[in-house]
Amino acid sequence: MTEHTEQQGHPSTATYLIIAAILTIITLVEVGVFYVPALQGVMAPILLSLSSAKFILVVMFFMHLKQDHTLFAAIFTIPLLLALSVATALMLLFGVLLN
């Protein structure tokens, strides 16, 4: 049996439970990293990477962008990239990223 059900090509219940478990573990790691003084210097890249992983997992599996038509992914991703670009530009403009 594959990991996908026949209905609408959506993931199975087992897949959803695995994704939820991974999301929980990543959250625990995030909170753990926050409390480790030795990781203060590299906390930002670690936490942003973990947060991005959670974001992608939810969007791909719970919002079904992995199985859905690519047009939906494009409709969502283009404004998301635009928002990231605006955020980066504003932070550079106000010197946030240079501190």
């Binding site: 906390m43 947060s51 959670k54 719970f62 998301l80």
Partner: protein, 193 residues
């Protein structure tokens, strides 16, 4: 009338309501992107009142877990509606709404605590940007809970069969979007100080 009868397919062969909803979520990316960026731009520039030291990480970690689990309940609700399982559709919709309400309860407690500690919308740049960002998110969660309860009522009325899958799917997309926004807020606002 069933979703199938109401469906308006476009030249892409996709349901126009789903395309419209993804477009709406795209616009929401810009809204929350702006709010998060505003918080970051003014971060560390407050000259009065409490700032990030007031944030309660253990409490917020629990509320983050609650919201993540509500997303799991939401996909299980959609799966139940798709296969025509009315009982579990109700169970998972009610669970999602309950977990969403619990998240709002955590947020209400946090806001009340902050106000008692002297942090309000007017206190400082931190207060303004924090309450506007998390308040907007909380408002979205509240709308999501109302939407879920509406679907739950329709299920009890026998009006949420497999032919209404799209309605549950759209509410699920909204709910998961609210969840991913919180994933970003939790990291940027609470963990990255």
């Amino acid at each position: 009338m069933s979703d199938t009868a109401l469906a308006h397919y476009t030249s892409t062969g996709l349901d126009s309501r789903k395309i419209a909803f993804w477009t709406f979520l795209g616009s929401e990316c810009l809204l929350f992107g702006t709010l998060i960026t505003t918080y970051l731009v003014y971060h560390g520039k407050s000259v009065a009142g409490p700032t990030t030291e007031i944030l309660n990480i253990p409490l917020t970690s629990v509320s983050t877990f609650v919201l993540l689990m509500s997303s799991l309940a939401m996909v299980l609700a959609l799966a139940a509606v798709t296969r025509g399982d009315a009982l579990f559709a109700r169970v998972w919709l009610a669970t999602t709404a309950l977990l969403g309400s619990m998240f709002l309860g955590f947020q209400a407690y946090e806001f009340t605590h902050f106000v008692h500690e002297g942090l309000t919308l007017q206190t400082s740049l931190f207060g303004s940007t924090f309450f506007v960002l998390t308040g907007f998110h909380g408002g979205h969660v509240f709308i999501g809970v109302v939407w879920l309860l509406t679907l739950l009522v329709r299920s009890f009325q026998g009006k949420l069969g497999p032919d209404k899958t799209l309605q549950v799917e759209l509410s699920g997309l909204y709910w998961h979007f609210v969840d991913v926004v919180w994933i970003v807020i939790f990291t940027v606002v609470y963990l990255l100080r």
